[in-house]
Symmetry: C2
Subunit: 335 residues, 2 copies
């Protein structure tokens, strides 16, 4: 029986488990979490078939291994599982940054396995396994970051899994990934946390708290994200995040000036921001690469397994000629 291992059964790991269990009924999913109680909840919620309490034991017979731990834990986990991975196993991760993760994979994983980085751009407010849900990745962008030495088969397997959980893969290299998510994922975290700190450190916070409603709730939401995850993000993507905070401070100062001036310039500034977000919501500016990469509706897992009937999960990632070209051109660009 094929086995997929998921290390880290928080919001993302457990959500992946739920979707894979539903789509791949013939495959055993084994999970591990540093908190046994989390692992227990994940099993009860149907995210894994089986729990393993040892890290090496979790990966021993797995064809595919997901690392869904905070980015700062990825290094330790790789060190702990390296020598227990089956030859030919494909390891992927879901951590928030990629430059360090790919470097650690190069150092700590044996040459007999493959590593392909991943980052699903999805998540909900409730942290941890309680926030896990099936269908979380439906239509989400899922960044796929191969190593320079990644085989086509490994990349296709990971893309196949991404497809299977309803997400859209998006090939990137690690530097590109970390630079872009610094702006759209990590800067919002800093902005949101600073708002929470500003309001809650005011002497009037008790009175304010009673008035704070949806607008405060949304903009401060990321302060409720996992501190361990945020610590990992800010530690492994520090330079890009600091640069973006500086940029943001300049932009906020410029907007402050519009408020001071008022009148037409302020109205223009407000309308620009409204239009920019409207354009984003309508998907006008979204790169079409991801959308174009697959023209077909993903085949149900049963069909895939039946059609290929082979013995490698890699065959999940079946041919899509455009996709092959993409991988080829990435490899040529040395990512």
């Amino acid at each position: 029986m094929h086995r997929i291992a998921i290390i880290g059964l928080g919001q993302i790991g457990a959500s992946i488990g739920m979707d894979l269990r539903a789509k791949l009924p013939d495959i055993e999913i084994i999970g591990h979490d540093i908190e046994p109680s989390t692992a227990g909840i994940a099993r009860k919620r149907g995210a894994v078939d089986k729990i393993s309490y040892s890290l090496p034991g979790t990966v021993e017979d797995a064809s595919i291994v997901f690392l869904s731990v905070p980015v700062t834990a990825v290094k330790d986990v790789m060190g702990a599982i390296g020598s227990s991975l089956s030859p030919g196993a494909i390891v992927t991760d879901t951590a928030s940054t990629k430059v360090d993760v790919l470097a650690w994979a190069g150092e700590l994983l044996p040459d007999s396995v493959e590593f392909v980085g991943g980052h699903p751009m999805a998540g909900v407010e409730t942290p941890g396994v309680d926030g896990a849900q099936s269908g979380m990745f439906e239509n989400a962008t899922y960044a796929v970051i191969p190593q320079a030495r990644s085989s086509e088969a490994a990349v296709k397997t990971v893309v196949g899994l991404v497809e299977l959980i309803g997400a859209k893969h998006y090939f990137m290299d690690a530097n590109e990934h970390d630079g872009l998510v610094a702006a759209v994922s990590h800067l919002p975290i800093a902005v949101s946390i600073a708002l929470m700190r500003s309001a809650s450190s005011s002497p009037s916070w008790r009175e304010m708290a009673g008035l704070a409603a949806g607008s405060f709730r949304d903009v401060s939401r990321l302060a409720s994200g996992s501190p361990a995850m945020h610590h990992g993000i800010f530690t492994t993507n520090r330079e890009s995040v600091l640069r973006w905070i500086d940029q943001y401070q300049n932009d906020l100062t410029a907007f402050r000036r519009l408020i001071e001036v008022g009148g037409e310039p302020l109205m223009d500034g407000l309308e620009e921001a409204f239009d920019a977000r409207d354009g984003w919501l309508r998907g006008k500016v979204v790169e079409t690469e991801a959308a174009k990469a697959f023209d077909e509706i993903p085949t149900a897992a049963e069909n895939i397994m039946g059609t290929f009937g082979g013995d490698r999960l890699a065959q999940l990632g079946r041919r899509v000629s455009k996709q092959e070209q993409e991988i080829e051109s990435r490899r040529e660009r040395g990512s």
Copy 2:
């Protein structure tokens, strides 16, 4: 027949209309919007029974008048309706700031009517009448800001209406209101808009946009608020907002330093923000005044009308001795 007039049939005005129509079947609701098409949608959606195309005509026979227009339009509307209001009519508003609104009411409304300011702390992302929905104010805090000369009957009527739509009234004075909402409502707008401007003005925005997910969506949400409403907010609450942006910039700079330092101090900072928001969500820090003001479940409108059977909507706002004491003590403090 009693009549309630709603001027401005955007998200808030139309939502109030929907709730009042459901709760007060024997009262006619007449509405006006500067955009006739908006008024038409509001009537189709059941927010008003009747549309009036003239401002003075809208208020002529109304016992209660809601002004649900952007704060900068409140002054003009007051000027236009002042001489057409019925003696004894109660005028209230839902604008985002209160110091200017109360001053305009003092100048522009005749002495024969009452004005009691209001501000429901609720709203959804979709702007305008399309975002209106019944039940929007369920359990929301609704700031009620009487004038120094407001009669008890008028204040109680407004509180009764607030109750009727499911919200919890919270008595404040105008300065207190504007200072507090600057932090929890208006600062988040500036923070959110600046994020949208920062990301969308980057040369890499097209690529970023494809990766931007829930975190960006939430923190940038307020950039999709009505530019006219935001303009009014920043114009009428400028000084408080500017002060809060300065405070926020200091706090963001301090948080940036924690990212630079990393390690334990960063972890402590992240945990503080997490705990602060957790406490807020759990309502630990919420002033209990609003929660304590009513011990009773609001009586259904039909019962209220039946029980009092009188000819004044004012009787909606029935006695709650604690409430009377609150009003009294407010009046003594000169608010």
